[in-house]
């Protein structure tokens, strides 16, 4: 392809810091930690970008988590995510700043924004990266991106176009240590959101569901979809959170924030207790990081048993009440 600009004109790592209701997304902080490591290797800086309304106070936090510079676009037009406003502001910023790498969280809004921007900026984008490195010989960004529900990982690069863009999957990189004495440069930037063609007419967000942080997760599959009260009670008794497989989220028995698997959340608890799930490739990808997996399923041939450390072959409707009553007695 013909490139408009030589890669050598681009420098630095830019991280788009997603925020909602006055909080930076955890994945954005995880990326900041990783970006600092990449920047060290490239002997360059990390710039965080915050788009929002009254979001300036988050800039300090971004510095403490590892950003060398933070650019803040503050405007009522940026209070809630809108593709047009956010892509116009971030697109202009990238054109002005010319970072060699642009990283975003692989969230719904992160992908919505990145997918649009990559085409506008005439560059390459690697989606849902689970590995992010700088290649030794070339100094290029190399990302491992999952395919086929995470069964296969493809190592990808964007050799000729800039910035090299990637969205990074939540929960892959550790949250960096916060350093309250760290200093960085914070700058307000002019905002020109342009014409916004979509209109937000309703928004409903419940706070505080982050299943990726749980130490214990009790997961209900289709074999337990009538037993959710028991599942919730068990989770509460043993201090865990409730997860579900995709069919239960499809039936809206619980929200997508509770959905475990490739299309939901990847979790890394100490214990996952999996009740009545068959164990598809997509689901298994979500419990890969669990230290111990305990499965209860009435089907001895179910695929889930191959992904479990401890296997109970029995009827959920008998084992779950026993679990609840024994946990109550503890």
């Amino acid at each position: 392809m013909q490139r408009a600009t030589a890669p050598s004109e681009f420098r630095g790592i830019m991280v788009y810091l997603e925020q909602s209701n006055g909080q930076l997304a955890k994945v954005s902080l995880e990326i900041l930690g990783k970006a600092k490591e990449l920047a060290g290797k490239l002997a360059t800086d990390t710039t965080g970008v915050i788009l929002g309304c009254n979001a300036g106070k988050l800039a300090e936090e971004a510095v403490q988590f590892g950003a060398d510079h933070v650019l803040v676009a503050d405007s009522p037009a940026l209070e809630h995510y809108a593709t047009d406003a956010f892509s116009n502001v971030l697109g202009q910023l990238v054109r002005d700043q010319k970072p060699e790498i642009l990283l975003l969280g692989a969230t719904r809004n992160g992908g919505d924004l990145a997918g649009r921007l990559a085409v506008r900026l005439n560059t390459g984008l690697m989606a849902h990266a689970v590995e992010v490195e700088i290649q030794n010989e070339t100094n290029l960004l190399a990302c491992g991106v999952p395919e086929f529900g995470g069964r296969i990982v493809a190592t990808c690069k964007c050799p000729h176009s800039r910035p090299q863009m990637a969205t990074v999957r939540p929960g892959i990189f550790p949250l960096p240590q916060r350093n309250p004495t760290r200093h960085g440069q914070i700058e307000q930037i002019p905002v020109n959101p342009g014409e916004v063609r979509t209109k937000l007419v309703e928004r409903s967000v419940k706070e505080g569901i982050d299943i990726t942080q749980a130490e214990v997760v009790v997961i209900a599959g289709q074999g337990a979809d009538t037993q959710l009260d028991g599942v919730r009670r068990l989770a509460e008794l043993i201090g865990g959170m409730v997860g579900v497989t995709r069919p239960l989220a499809d039936k809206e028995l619980m929200s997508r924030d509770h959905q475990i698997g490739y299309t939901g959340c990847a979790i890394a608890p100490k214990v996952a207790i999996v009740l009545g799930a068959s164990g598809s490739v997509y689901f298994a990808s979500g419990i890969r990081g669990a230290k111990t997996v305990i499965s209860v399923n009435k089907d001895a041939a179910a695929a889930i048993n191959g992904y479990a450390d401890f296997i109970v072959i029995d009827d959920i409707t008998k084992v779950l009440p026993a679990l609840v009553s024994k946990a109550e007695g503890r």
Binding site: T107, R116, A127, E147, V153, V281, D309
Partner: protein, 261 residues
């Protein structure tokens, strides 16, 4: 009202094999099907058609061998299908794929709504719908679960972290449909339309696209290496006994696993 549904024909994930020596994905033994969330997108289109009238056109890029899968789409109720079948399109990343699809959408013309599944089950990037919208210069709404059209305005409910939002956008608009948000109807193979159906195939020349922007040549991203992740090694120990015994052992194992660092 014209809806174009972009569908990808993919191999069933459970049936692919990974060839360790050539480091390629062997799809030859796997059954092909229309990507699952694309079937959800088609269902949204067919439900809208029932209310609004108009036509539903399937658009897909791939080899001629995927025709049977597109016929399933016609049997479900789509009115027509167009295949972008040309080796010049092969090896495309999301940039060149969205460029090619946008060119085909322009050639179809008179469109009000472009629907896609939110992600494919193979590459799974979710980047093609926003890419198409940018190439066409029209708004996008991603990860939608419901869609209504009221006098040239699309009203969509979309999933966001922690909840949902409802967004309005003027037509034409690109929307990507969340996996599993509806139950796609079954194909009806005795549909009259299916008997009359003849697949339209377009090449790069038909589309009049820039040959430097399509396929592998037009891609920004190169794939350097593929690895198959080993299945995590698990102990796979059976726990047996009465439900009460089993429950006690599960709780015991849970405590032990929690106490380890």
């Amino acid at each position: 009202m014209r809806t174009i549904v972009c569908v990808k024909v993919v191999p069933k994930t459970e049936e692919i094999r990974f060839d360790q020596t050539t480091k390629t994905v062997d799809r030859s033994q796997a059954e092909n099907e229309i990507n699952e969330s694309d079937r959800n997108a088609l269902e949204v289109a067919l439900q809208l058609k029932k209310k609004q009238g108009g036509d539903v056109i399937l658009l897909s890029e791939g080899p001629l061998s995927i025709e049977p899968c597109l016929r399933v789409g016609i049997a479900c109720g789509a009115d027509d299908a167009i295949l972008l079948g040309d080796n010049a399109f092969a090896g495309a990343d999301t940039y060149s794929t969205s460029y090619t699809l946008a060119a085909a959408i322009r050639k179809i013309g008179n469109f009000d709504l472009i629907l896609c599944g939110e992600e494919s089950s193979d590459a799974g990037t979710g980047l093609v719908p926003p890419g198409i919208a940018e190439w066409l210069g029209i708004p996008q709404v991603t990860s939608i679960t419901q869609l209504d059209i009221v006098s040239s305005t699309a009203r969509a409910k979309r999933t966001i972290t922690g909840g949902y939002e409802v967004v309005e956008a003027p037509l034409p608009v690109v929307a990507s449909v969340e996996l599993g948000c509806n139950s796609p109807r079954f194909p009806l193979f005795r549909r009259k339309k299916l008997a009359e159906f003849k697949l339209t195939v377009w090449t790069a020349v038909d589309l009049g696209v820039d040959p430097n922007k399509i396929g592998e040549k037009g891609s920004h991203i190169v794939v350097e290496d593929l690895v198959e992740l080993p299945k995590p090694s698990r102990r796979m120990e059976r726990i047996t006994g009465s439900p009460e015994d089993e429950a006690l052992q599960i709780l015991q194992k849970t405590s032990e696993a929690r106490d380890t660092r």
